[in-house]
Amino acid sequence: MKRNAPLQLLANLKKARSGKNLSVLDLLSIDDLSLGDFELLFSLSEVFKKFVKRGEKKCELLKGKTIINFFNENSTRTRSSFELAGKHLGADVINISGSSSSGRKGETLGDSARTLDALNSDLLVIRDANAGAPFQLSKLVRTPIVNAGDGWHEHPTQALLEAFTLRERFGQRKLKYLFVGDALHSRVFGSQVRLYKKLGYEIRLAAPETLIPKNVEKFGVKVFYEIEKALEGVDAIHAIRLQTERAAGKFIATGREYSKNYCLSPARMTLAKKDVAVLHAGPVIREFDIRTEVLESPNCLVQKMVENSLPIRMAVEWLLITNSKKKIKPW
């Protein structure tokens, strides 16, 4: 029974995919994805999740394929999750980390990407401190690109894995969803807000004005300064980490004062629905973003999100590498 797991996986995947492809050749922004793409990704992720959970994680779906994680900014969890996903699928995965400034060694980011392209890689997973870098590189290379976080802009797979987690919990209901904290510097917010708008969620944001992006209401977001007022009736709360590494520190007076106003504390949670889901993209700063009591309560889905990062990224990698449409060689 156990020996047949990969075979059964293949059968289940075929059924779930039913010959479909993503509508895009690169995964750069949630903007580019359709509702059909979300469906495809979520149904494949379900299959991959069952497979991974059975314990025999390795299959040969991407045997002989090369995935390059091209990370120009520090990352542990995202990089290892992409790496593991690739390895579970049987691909060869290598990690390349550049300096955060493309010009530091004198080579442009574009030239670095073209070098990796010329090595016949099958997928480039790109993280960069500059918003738009993966988008700009996608015009220069033949290899499909996954945006694994670009500046303050987007981090689409992180949004997808959270949406997948919420779907496991709530099904396909249109949720009332609350962001708390630093939306300004958060690329995870950038992807999530686009995704939830497409899914028809009612979106709120509770944050001090200094951390709210200009014209954020055009994303369909209702802004609150007082978290207590925003909590009423929401199904899910996402605490956004204060991006102190992006100099967000000066946008608030002190962490102490911030947490007094915006930390998800047990007292605040009594204002929300009993079964409200608590979410965070990690790394969590305890007692600052979320109080330990809340983080360790059954409402908290943070560990589930980490678990779901693998099947989502397996689905993304498999779909992009086996896309029947190919990019045209740009040079």
């Binding site: 442009t108 500059n130 918003a131 700009q136 500046g151 303050w152 802009h153 200009k214 014209n215």
Partner: protein, 433 residues
């Protein structure tokens, strides 16, 4: 020197209030405009230019050009910039002093002017810096620069808040009758911004600069000018709020003038979508409401002049992530066609209004006798063919810079003939060399 007769063109002279547009011939002798009249008969003329159906005007005056020489000759030189200017119908240009070294003393001023005379093919003027090395700390030798021929002084203190020095500097320039020009942008408010702050910057995840970055400097400067009323010019204004402040200041009678760039007239910040680094420029492209306010300001006379803010860069400097890319657009060769297409073809300005903003107004601000088409005046003249639509092709630029967001755009208006000091330098749209 050869004589030139320009036949049957529509001569546009915004300074001629009674008859600003008329079909006439223009006869040029000894570097001067000898006669403007209908049906001139000059049988022994050396060169006859048939301008039937074309516009004949004073050569354009572009009061904001980054020549890059001295210091960045890899980006542009006085030789190449003046050739780009000639092709664009610009016969007088004002170089900016942020070169390397900075134009902050008489020797540097003389270098640029001398190089312009020797290697340039249009009139090259230069501005000088208000403070030494543009550091905003010590006054530069403004009188000596004026004596050496500098046309204007750039108030480089406006970006910082050192109001004490600025007030003294205004008085110092007032003493020597030097007009001042500033790039109104508060360095502290701008901080790390790489574009306009708004819905577009939020969508792109890029840092934006608010409108107050600009209007704050203008408001602050206007307060100083109430005490020190010396001629002051705000260059490349971009926001609705700035237009309003300057409109009110003019009503109040303060000695202020302003200009805007051709790219802020044509584009809004959505040109930056898809991380288009070619649309990255300083000051940044603003919202559509701001763009419309600029057009309103051009119509009602608040905005006196249109500039190219010609800013050549190496391609590699645009071939990088948006935040790291150099700011600037090359513009000498596209100034006229873009402006004509946007403002005259769309019937926003009349021909005299339009040409005033490209010739006589900027000339008056920089106190030059260029920008006029009058009998007895210097023969700096451009003949524009405005009938044929054509496509901008950056690969044909005479400038070393190729950084333009307008490549491939279809436009009307092109300099057919250009005359500088009585010499024909462009004929049938080609440089005569």
């Amino acid at each position: 020197m050869k004589t030139i007769l320009i036949k049957n063109g529509h001569v546009v002279n915004p300074l001629n209030r009674r008859d600003p547009v008329r079909v006439a011939d223009v006869f040029i002798r000894d570097g001067k405009i000898s006669k403007i009249a209908a049906n001139l008969d000059r049988p022994s003329t050396d060169i006859i230019v048939n301008a039937r159906g074309k516009i004949v005007s004073a050569g354009l005056v572009d009061m904001h050009v980054h020549l890059r020489e001295p210091g960045r000759e890899d980006k542009e030189t006085i030789r190449t910039a003046t050739r780009a200017a000639a092709i664009g119908g610009v016969t007088t240009l004002l170089g900016m002093p942020n070169t390397s070294p900075v134009i902050d003393n008489q020797t540097a001023v003389k270098f640029v002017l001398e190089k312009g005379r020797r290697e340039g093919i249009v009139n090259v003027l230069t501005a000088g810096s208000l403070t030494k090395k543009m550091e905003g700390e010590e006054l530069a030798e403004i009188w000596e620069m004026r004596e050496a021929g500098a046309s204007m002084i750039i108030d480089d203190c406006a970006e910082t808040s050192g109001m004490g020095l600025r007030r003294l500097a205004l008085k110092y320039c007032q003493t020597f009758g030097m007009p001042i020009l500033t790039h109104p942008e508060d360095a502290d408010l701008k901080a790390d911004a790489v574009m306009n702050e708004g819905w577009t910057s939020t969508r792109l995840g890029l840092v934006g600069s608010p409108d107050s970055t600009e209007s704050l400097v203008i408001a602050r400067t206007l307060e100083l000018l109430r005490e020190v009323p010396t001629p002051y010019h705000f260059t490349h204004i971009t926001t609705a709020r700035s237009v309003k402040l300057i409109r009110e200041a003019k009503k109040e009678g303060l000695p202020v003038s302003c200009d805007c760039t051709i790219h802020h007239i044509c584009l809004n910040d959505e040109a930056c979508l898809n991380y288009n680094t070619l649309a990255k420029v300083d000051p940044p492209l603003r919202s559509e409401d701001d763009r419309l306010a600029l057009i309103e300001g051009l119509k009602d006379g608040t905005i006196d002049a249109i500039i190219s803010d010609h800013a050549p860069h190496l391609l590699v400097e645009k071939f990088v992530p948006f935040a790291e890319a150099a700011s600037g657009i090359v513009g000498l060769e596209t100034l006229f066609p873009l402006a004509f297409t946007e403002l005259v073809v769309k019937k926003i300005l009349t021909l005299p209004e339009f040409f005033a903003k490209l010739t006589s107004n900027p000339a008056e601000i920089i106190r030059s006798n260029a920008g006029q088409i009058e009998e007895g005046g210097i023969a700096d003249i451009a003949v524009f063919d405005t009938q044929k639509e054509w496509k901008i092709d950056k690969n044909n630029f005479k400038s070393k810079g190729r950084n333009t967001p307008f490549d491939g755009k279809k436009v009307f208006g092109r300099a057919a003939e250009v005359i500088v000091g009585g010499e024909l330098i462009v004929q049938k749209g080609e440089l005569l060399e």
